[in-house]
Symmetry: C2
Subunit: 265 residues, 2 copies
């Protein structure tokens, strides 16, 4: 099983859109995928809720209970039949997680331990090939838990000025996590999102990215595509909502690129 | 003096762009404006740094010291001659503010007290007509400090599905703040940002906004305009970078609308 943390502390760069549509793209390739919504806004849960506006299934069993109440992972897992994958929903309670875990010893390692304790049995507890973590726009305890638990880090990045600026700070944090909490953590790559090839700005930012992060840049590019912004209001992934769109094609390409990278090793 | 908190826990909706360009629009109308950067990414400081990439002036005197080290406000204020206003920069240290203030009694009222302690003398300590707070994409201790200290709340909102979803949560928090911390807090309004009138989605979201938040919707609309995304890489407001652009016109209109609302009272 391989886990991928999807992180960028800059807001609105395409983290949730990537978690939802990469997850479902991997499921379309026949992989068994679990999505973990670690954001108090629960956008990932809404994105794939089937009914616009209803979170996955609200209630007591979310990633908050997993981290704070030591709920076993299998109690939070819900099957999303229409998208062919599984998910643990987020919760508004996550907004108070910093205080809730302030006194927890080794608090950044809670998620890692919860995942280690999960023993798939192929029936009640399905085995997964991939787990994706959708994170909030910050480098607080939730993103740190995801970095400490993950095998890989995927960094969605909007091709605009502020997104580029935050990369240095993110890389600093990654190095500390690799040293102290998770030596196995590997940076899978940087994914340019919402790329609008008509603007000069996007081209300039990609040139900057190639200069500073050459080896990290994935080949995939997610083009700006209004269908990607519409899909969440129908509670569907792009592959269900608009399978012929650029958005669906770009995320399928990303899925294949990641499988080629991670399964060829 | 009137203070305006610019808040939306959804990421990437235009908070920093609004703080920078509304602030400078008010300065162009002859008002004395102070900007407070409460975000650990310090995007507001970068946006108006004059030199692309250099934060306002990095160093020990930021909003972190104001909140945690009881630094007097006047020690953090820097003059931005080219934009005709004053600003207190942000700092990466703000990322650790939740823990730093975990044991502080009445921690959400720290900013209010720091502003109350400031006594303008017209020379060393300028008097301000407006103070704008740029906040991170969360409803944690920084945004709560801004809500507790502010006279008004301005909510930038991207005309997309996830932005609409977060409004209910934000309004819940506002009601608690009004009851417990700041009965004077008034919602100035919701500001549609990055409006792309070509897409059906934007129209649908505005219709939803009008249905749910009719009285709160400002008349101003900030259209999608690539000049607004380019300006930060030159360290300038839109009014300096591209004064003839739609972006500059929309923020000047917003400035006039807010002055008419707040100064007619
Ligand atoms: N390639 C794209 N083309 C068009 N719209 C997109 C694209 N990717 C994402 N969006 C839209 O842009 C907005 C921001 O995306 P998203 O919510 O996935 O970002 P995020 O990084 O998860 O935000 P947050 O920081 O708040 O968690 C959403 O409204 C989404 O529908
Ligand atoms: N009206 C607009 N037209 C085009 N681009 C815009 C507009 N407003 C903002 N942008 C760009 O969109 C991105 C997000 O805006 P901004 O950083 O101001 O949002 P934010 O809410 O402050 O984000 P965060 O949640 O990370 O603090 C930036 O790259 C900005 O330059
Ligand atoms: Mg998100
Ligand atoms: Mg911002």
């Amino acid at each position: 099983m391989k886990s991928i943390a999807i992180i960028n502390q800059k807001g609105g760069v395409g983290k949730t859109t990537t978690a939802a549509n990469l997850g479902t793209a991997l499921a379309l390739e026949g992989r068994r995928v679990l999505l973990l919504d670690l954001d108090s806004q629960s956008n990932l849960s809404m994105h794939l809720s089937g009914e616009a506006g209803d979170a996955l299934i609200p209630g007591e069993r979310s990633s908050f209970e997993l981290l704070v109440d030591k709920m076993p992972l299998e109690e939070g897992i819900q099957r999303l039949e229409s998208e062919g994958l599984w998910a643990v929903p987020g919760s508004q309670d996550l907004a108070g997680i910093e205080m809730a875990m302030a006194q927890t010893i080794g608090r950044e390692l809670t998620l890692r331990d919860a995942l280690h304790a999960y023993e798939p049995d192929g029936e009640v507890r399905p085995g997964f090939d991939y787990i994706l973590f959708d994170c909030p726009p910050s480098l607080g305890v939730l993103s740190l838990n995801a970095l400490a638990a993950a095998d890989y880090l995927l960094i969605p990045l909007q091709t605009e000025f502020f997104s580029l600026q935050g990369m240095a700070q993110l890389m600093e944090v990654v190095q500390v996590v690799q040293k102290r909490l998770n030596p196995e953590l590997e940076v899978l790559g940087v994914l340019p999102c919402m790329v609008d090839s008509r603007t000069r700005l996007a081209g300039e930012v990609i040139t900057e990215l190639e200069r500073h992060f050459e080896t990290l840049l994935l080949r995939a590019r997610i083009r700006k595509n209004v269908k990607l912004a519409e899909a969440p209001s129908f509670g569907q992934s792009i592959h269900l909502y608009a399978p012929e769109s650029n958005g669906a094609a770009d995320y399928r390409f990303l899925g294949k690129e990641i499988l080629a990278r991670l399964e060829a090793e």
